[in-house]
Symmetry: D2
Amino acid sequence: MTSPAAYRLIRRIQFADTDAAGVAHFSRLLMMVEEAEHEFLRSLQIPILTESSAWPCVALDVNYLCKCEFGDLIAIELHVASIGRTSITYEFHAFQSQASDQSKVFCGKMVKCHILPGKSGATPIPESIRDILRAFLPHVI
Amino acid sequence: MTSPAAYRLIRRIQFADTDAAGVAHFSRLLMMVEEAEHEFLRSLQIPILTESSAWPCVALDVNYLCKCEFGDLIAIELHVASIGRTSITYEFHAFQSQASDQSKVFCGKMVKCHILPGKSGATPIPESIRDILRAFLPHVI
Amino acid sequence: MTSPAAYRLIRRIQFADTDAAGVAHFSRLLMMVEEAEHEFLRSLQIPILTESSAWPCVALDVNYLCKCEFGDLIAIELHVASIGRTSITYEFHAFQSQASDQSKVFCGKMVKCHILPGKSGATPIPESIRDILRAFLPHVI
Amino acid sequence: MTSPAAYRLIRRIQFADTDAAGVAHFSRLLMMVEEAEHEFLRSLQIPILTESSAWPCVALDVNYLCKCEFGDLIAIELHVASIGRTSITYEFHAFQSQASDQSKVFCGKMVKCHILPGKSGATPIPESIRDILRAFLPHVI
């Protein structure tokens, strides 16, 4: 994806993110992707968890390219890849963000669906939210 | 505390419980204490999380005595130390549970209070629950 | 995959696994897949974390099909889908394991690669380990 | 403690920090205290995890005063309460940091001891580190 990121989060790898192999645990890196997603939605005043909206993860596709360690600063770049009737597909790329090292750490896709908390099944994304997010879709030339 | 434990949970230290120093992270060991508490309540059919009961932690006092590592089996012994109007104080002692090593890993006290989920402040523990738990109090001779 | 699972782990959703939407968090369910993988390797006496072996996750592909909640018992069925020179691809399917509900909760693939801890890059899986794992590959008729 | 905090960290409650009761889980709040400690040490260029230094938690004493929820901004104020031969005692106070609500969320003490990673037992805190930290001790008048 060559369009600019919809959101860019810098996040330090904390001690509790690491495991006994000395690196950030793969599951903890995914929490950071969700933190980026939530900061993105928050920056747009899109509700994240209310009586009428929640966004559980329904699909994930991740590649881990190189390790990151305690104390590393990671830049997570989030893109809105597509908007469906009830779900949003995000693409993400995470990089080391030190001057000396900008290597890609992991990347992938995450699909979040829109639900009414406590109800089963997905529910359409409100038009007002779709309108806001549409501006972040990759441009077709 | 010399009376027998109210509940004894054997729990393996999982990879995601460890940190880059190669040992179980102190915060993850506390999750295991709560797992023991919940298995104890579950075994007595005491509600853990319903519309009329939840048990947040209101106080903790823990000493970590020796490290435990990925793959170790830990025995968590839970005692009911006292029952207040709105809270239960548990005492816990965690041991290595291999034949060759029974050393104490950590111990402490945890106070859980009874609330109505979504409401502020503690609410009295129902008499039916107090009746069940009273049997686990240390005996005064 | 119709061959029997290489390993089947029953795991209760703990309170610390849940989130404010009232369900198990997607990242925590992935820790359970790794717990199943590690119990599988442990049952075969294959080293999981030693000076000569560690198994970081290099790729994940997951679909979350229905929610699971605090206290639910989940059965995670792990299959060895393929064995590469330096990596193992597992397939996993997780089900509710109550008598009244056997619905599939999530499923996917996880690629774990073999490394020497502290070194960069993957290292070939020792032949002794390949020999053990080969028995769990799906049979070609 | 009335002296100014040695370090003050503002941290948002993330979705993965919450539990099914709708609030931040007590164990996750302790990870944030350690994040504050590590940012404090980092700001002073004191080694946090190297071949010659690691700082496991050996004791905790925490009181949880009111709940905090997904999205809340929490200010964690860290004080150096005392410096022993092999350990540092921190005191911490965490507050809601919105303009409309500055209530105290939790507070307590955490003792971190100095070890050589991989070795058993505590090891004296190097004099160079003690010199730096001494400036943060509460003043005796």
